[in-house]
Structure formats: C-alpha cells, structure tokens
C-alpha cells in the first residue's frame, strides 16, 4: 500500500511572498478594513513625518489667539495663536511613540512570562501567576498617579516603559492559557517527542499560533497606552515639556475654558477627534488579524 497518491487537483502553492498577497486579500475582503489601514497609516505618517512638515517652533500669530476655525486654521488656534491642526500633527509623535514603546514592553514581557509559565508549569507557573495576579490587582491608574510624583517621565520611552510594566498582566495570563491549551495539542507533543529544542518549540511552533492574538494585543496595548498617557497629561500630572494631545486637552479645558466657552472648543475637539479616529482605525482592522495570521483564513 505504498502507491503514490496523486492529488486530484493542484492547489496554489503558498510561500512567504504569498503572505502579503494573502494580507491584501484579507484586507480587501471588507472595505472597512482598508479604511482602518488608511487611518492607521495616516497616524504612522504623522508620527514619523509630522514634526518635519511644520517649522520648529510652530509659528504663532499674536493677534489670533483662540481664532475660530478657518481655511488657514481648520481647527482654529490655541492660546498662543498656534495652529491647532499643526499641534495635533506634531503632537502625534510623542503619543504614538509612547504607545509603541508600551506595546513592545507589554507584549514582550507578557508573552515571555506567559510562555514560561504555561510551558514549564509547576513552580515557575505558580510564582509567575502570583506575580501576574498582583500586577492585575494593583489598580494601574491610581498607581500611575502616585508614580508620576516620583518619576519624571522625561521621554516617551520612559513613559512607555512604566505603562508597559503596569500592563503586561492581562497578556501574560492570556498567553499562558493559550500556551497551556496549545501545549496539549499534538504538534507540540510531537515536537517534544522528536527531541526538538525548547527554543524551537516556543519560537516556531507556539508563537506563530499566537500571532493573531499577540498582534491584537499589540494594537490594544498601543491604544491603551496612548489613552492612559493622554489621560495623565490631561489630568496634568505629567510634566509637559513636549507638545502632545494630552497637553492640548489639559490646556484647553483647564486653561482655555473649552468647556465654558466655545472659543477654545476646537482646541479641545481636535485632539479628541484624533483619539476617536485612531480608535476607529484600530477597531476597523482588529478583526482582520485573525485572518491575516491564520493560513487557512488567509487563503480563502
């Protein structure tokens, strides 16, 4: 019974190049996903090129403080007469950089700890899960507030580091449970039985299966960090030596009286809109992650 079984019909061959074709296919499946990608690309562009578009420092018009929206200033001007749109665009870098730093730390730490706990089980697992419980129990925002008085978040990366350290628990727990369930799957057992190294098993067999999950968490962590950080700036508990959305919110509300008079309202609404748009972008593409990373869904 060793007759070669020939396939009834040839199927298209997959390769690395096809991954991107698959991604494009997944995105095209729903037009809203394209919109989401465009939005995110826009923000990425802002973060990368935003500060280069405008002169530094941003020009001010001494006679147009809190100017109403116009063609020249689509979102009006701030208390100094600086174009609000320019502030939003140039402010994106700090915000997004923090978000990315947080995401990297959250996901790297969460995934690593979750994998270790789930893969090694036993004592490691117990210890790490206690740590995770602790991290999840301590209320993040209040702790952040307390920490801000101790720590000057001079750079977005530092900020991201702290936010990341306060946010890995959820990822770790989820990755652990995923690992535990994947661990029992035949292919992991088979890899162990074949004597493949733990690095191979974790890196090549386990992680790719969790990719959609991790990708989704990256997105969530990025937004979470952005919101937390903007929120802290809004509360005014972080030193604002840079221009960013949270600072704008704070100055608009507590300095400009945006909630009292309509003059500063565009100054408030512009960063709010930026946040809403970013959320929208992420919401629109989050559901594509599963399809992108799952070869079966990608092909269909």
């Amino acid at each position: 019974m060793t007759a070669i079984l020939t396939p009834p019909r040839p199927v298209k061959v997959s390769s690395r190049r096809d991954f991107w074709r698959g991604v494009r296919r997944v995105l095209r499946r729903k037009p809203s996903r394209i919109v989401g990608v465009v939005i995110l690309a826009l923000f990425a562009l802002m973060a990368v090129a935003g500060p280069m578009i405008y002169p530094s420092p941003l020009p001010r018009e001494n006679n147009a403080l809190y100017a109403a929206p116009s063609l020249a200033h689509p979102f009006g001007t701030d208390f100094e007469g600086t174009d609000v749109l320019a502030l939003v665009v140039t402010g994106a870098r700090y915000v997004i950089l923090t978000g990315l730093a947080t995401a990297v730390i959250t996901v790297a730490l969460g995934t690593a700890l979750g994998l270790i706990a789930g893969f090694h089980r036993g004592r490691w697992d117990t210890a790490l899960m206690r740590l995770t419980d602790l991290q999840l129990t301590i209320p993040g925002l209040p702790l952040l507030l307390v920490l801000t008085t101790l720590w000057k978040f001079d750079s977005p990366l530092e900020m991201g580091l702290v936010l990341g350290l306060l946010g890995w628990g959820g990822v770790a727990r989820a990755v652990r449970s995923q690992t535990l369930s994947l661990r029992e799957r035949g292919f992991i057992e088979a890899a162990r039985g074949l004597g493949l190294s733990t690095t191979h098993i974790i890196g090549r067999e386990l992680l790719p299966g969790m990719a959609p999950y991790i990708a989704m968490n990256v997105l969530i962590a990025v937004t979470g960090a952005i919101y937390a950080q903007v929120g802290l700036f809004f509360l005014g508990v972080l030193p604002f030596d840079s221009n960013n959305w949270g600072v704008m919110l704070n100055l608009a509300v507590f300095g400009g009286g945006a909630l009292t008079s309509t003059a500063a309202l565009p100054y408030l609404l512009a960063p709010l809109l930026a946040i809403l748009l970013l959320t929208l972008g992420i919401v629109l593409i989050v559901d594509a992650m599963d399809e992108i990373f799952n070869p079966r869904l990608r092909e269909e």
């Binding site: 209320p139 307390v146 919101y227 919110l249 959320t279």
Partner: protein, 345 residues
Amino acid sequence: MKTHPARGRPRAHAVTRRLTGHLARGLAMIWVVTTISFVIIRSIPGNPVQGQYETLIERGMSPDAAERATAALYGFLPKGTLWEQYTQYLGALIHLDLGQSLSTPGTEVTTLIGAAAKWTILPVLGGTLLSFLLGVTLGVYAGIKRSGRLGDLLSISGSLLHGVPQYVIGLLMLAIFTTLWPILPAGGPVDVEFVPGFNGPYLASLVQHATLPVLTYALASYGGWVLAMKSSVATVLGDDFILAAELRGLSRAVLFRYVARNAILPLFTILALSLGMLFGGAIFIERIFNYPGLGLLLVNSIGARDYALMGGTFLVTTVAIIVANIAADLLYTVIDPRVRTGGTA
C-alpha cells in the same frame, strides 16, 4: 442494567475551603500592596506643610495668616524612622485604622474614605448596572442578528465606544450638556439646599447631578458589554444544545431564555471584576465632573501629599479589586451548577 447518576450533593466543605484559600491569598496580596504603596508613597518628594502654605498664599491669604493656618500641621507629620512608621502603619491597619489625614487635619482617613466611597459607589453601581443591562440586552440582539445590518451597527458602535477612553466621553458629555446645551449641572454631588434624606427635591437633585457621571460610566463600559455579550451569545448559539432545543420544538421564549442565561453566565464574573476595577478607574470621571468620590480623593491627596490618605485610598481601591475577585469566583460557584454540584460522571 441500572446505573446511577452522580448525586448532586452540594459540596459545602469544598466551597469553604475555597473561600479560606482565597482569603489567605487575598490577605497576602493586601500585605504586598500595602508594603509597596507604603514604600512608594513615603519616597514621594514634597513637603505638605510648605505646600499648604504656598497654596494659601496663592489663593490670596496674607503670609501671616497662612503661616498661622499651617503651623499646626507640623504636628500631623509622620514621625520616626521609615521602619517604625511601617510597623506602626501595619499595626494600625490590623485595627482597620488607616491613620489621620493631613490635608483635613485630624480627620480619620477611614472617615474620609467612607465619605468618598459613597459617592463613588453611586455612579459606579448605577453606571455599571445601567451599561450592563443595556449592553447585555443589545448584545443578545447583536449576537442573534449577527449578520444583519443592525447587528453590525451594534457591534461597531460597541467596539468604538469600548475603544474610546472614559475621559473623552466625559469631556464630550460635559461640552454638550453643560456648554453647548446647558441642561445639566456641571459638577458636585447634590445641591446643598435640600435637606438630605428620602425626600423628593433631594433625590431629584441627586439624580440630576449623577446623570452625567452615570451616563459617562454607562457609555464607556456599554461597548464592552455589547461585545462580550455578543461573542458569548454567538458561542452559545453554536452550542449543540441550542440546536437540540430547537429541534425539540421548544418555544421561542424558552429558547431565548436558554441562550440568554447561558450567555450571561460568564459575564457575571466580569461584572463583579469591573465593579472592583471601577473604584480605581473612576479618577477621570470624578475629576471631570468634580464628583467627590475615591478617585478625586486620591488625586487630591496626592496633590496635598497627604501620605496617610493616599495610602488608604490606594489600599481601599486595591482591596475592592481583591474582594471583587473573590466575590466573582464565589458568585460563579453559586450560579453555575457545573461548579456548584461538582463531579462529572
């Protein structure tokens, strides 16, 4: 050939054992949190008395008067080495004594927290329950009509609202309902003119002031409920027993109950957890609406470097989460027969 099903004996001792285990772990957690917060808080820079003095000056008090007003505060500064303070703190904690506030000198921290907690509980409970009911109802709909236009709309709106941070919603609400269309009060918990108690005007004022914070809570968490319920309903709908029930010709109402009850079960634990979580997460909303709950208390205590109050508030929010965790677990034990009666055949 006769076989017997496992008799559904409630395993009381198992539940108590579970509870004691939880309590022990909870206490250990509280101790760790206490220690961490103690260390962090004591290393925060800033002299509260000097701060109070300058604040008074900044508000227009004369330097002499400001000095008089703050002189006595020195008596409330913690004394002794850090270790002594720590052991004292822990010792007092056992008697549920969180120390005395410095920013409201001479008032027990527990009193302050108690007073604030009641204002946090009102909107948190109101908002969470409101959003839970709304979200769950619409989530069932979104789950059942997954492929319909309205279902799509519900889930997209859910994801969006779920994604938008609380303060954005809060600020928008404030901008809309107090600036652009001023129909609701912008802050405070209740109008002081009315005699507190169970009387119409007082309650009306209470409701009026709570509307925006509650609405903001509700909107901010509504999305999460819709999404959670939707996916839960989708899972349950995929379960065989629903198809089986349908094929047995069960009436729509019964079917709906089957779906809803099974789908809502996992959400109860999330509900308990989110109630615990919201105690700490109320900061933005309370700050925006000037609602005198725990979040605002914490912000103010940090602003005033009121160590005892800071530590106390932080501890209470953490304990709320730990308690919620335990409660969620026990709740699950009570409401899920699979857990309650144990033992599979």
